[in-house]
């Protein structure tokens, strides 16, 4: 029987048994550690901002030491700003991972694919493990591969909308055509959508708002963990074929008279 015990997500030479990347925004810090545990997440995203006076608490105190920190470049409007933020994040000593976000549009927060490619190339050349947040465009995904990305992170729907896989067909094209892990990011609003992404063949799912704004953060984190694992197992098992006409499950002979 198919077993996912030895099934790993590989990113930049690192192996992860969890395929759930948890965003840390909008959480109360006291709930974050429990949510990470319930999510069985091994990668957690963080953002970089100016320090606040009197803010002696730091989010790193609420994240277990064995978690891989994935800084994002939120706030960057172009490649140069993304590179600047990534360098500052690396200076904080949490490793070489970076999630590139280059966003000019403030209403839908859609990524600027052109600047994202430029930032990915620069950061990969600086030795970063680059995970670019992108609009799911096959040509761009190919450019990101050539630029040295460790994966591609297409959006399912605009950030924080909980609308799910609005870009489903285009993510499927990336899964079919791109060798790197395809990690669906943004818009995933419930565990069923996360499961569907995994069944399609996404390598991992990233979610934040859906968990942080749910009625029971810990229960929702766990629900996502279960659904992502279920979706992965289903993908590995191979889904049954879809048929237009009915196909009897029971034998069509030997009926009682």
């Amino acid at each position: 029987m198919m077993d996912i015990k030895d099934d790993f997500l590989e990113l930049g030479g690192h192996k992860f048994s969890s395929r759930f990347i948890l965003g840390s925004g909008k959480f109360s810090l006291t709930l974050l550690e429990a949510a990470i545990k319930d999510a069985k997440a091994q990668i957690v995203t963080l953002a970089l901002r100016r320090v606040n006076e009197g803010g002696s608490e730091n989010i790193l105190d609420f994240i277990p030491k064995d978690i891989t920190i994935l800084p994002n470049t939120s706030g960057a409007r172009n490649a140069d700003e993304a590179v600047r933020i990534a360098k500052l994040a690396r200076e904080l000593g949490c490793g070489d991972f970076v999630k590139v976000e280059c966003i000019k549009d403030s209403r839908y927060l859609l990524p600027d694919n052109y600047e994202t490619i430029k930032a990915t190339e620069k950061l990969a050349n600086l030795g970063f493990i680059v995970m670019p947040y992108m609009y799911p465009d096959l040509n761009v995904a190919r450019d990101l591969v050539n630029a040295g990305a460790a994966c591609v992170m297409p959006l399912g729907a605009p950030i924080g909308t909980n609308k799910g896989l609005a870009t489903r067909e285009f993510i499927k094209i990336l899964i079919d055509e791109i060798e790197l892990p395809v990690i669906v990011d943004a818009g995933i609003g419930n565990p069923a959508q996360a499961c569907e992404a995994m069944q399609m063949g996404c390598a991992a799912v990233m979610a934040n708002t859906a968990i942080a704004t749910s009625g029971d953060v810990r229960a929702m984190a766990k629900a996502f963990a279960l659904s992502i694992e279920a979706g992965r197992l289903a993908y590995l098992a191979g889904l049954g074929e879809i048929s237009e006409a009915a196909r009897a499950s029971s034998p069509l002979s030997g009926f009682l008279e």
Partner: protein
Amino acid sequence: MLIINGKDESGFIGKSVHEFACQKGFNKEYMAVEINGEILPRDKFDSKFNDGDRVEIVCFVGGG
């Protein structure tokens, strides 16, 4: 003038990053410092601010 995180902090001209962090209650373990566009290595936090410096001091916060 000395601008730190967008504010006039000219009172700290000639003082170090370390002194600034202590006075403001920042934890140096959790901050990265950029002076005039260049990252200041962690082992240089005793460097003094100069008149005209533009400084950004950042830390990790929650984000997706």
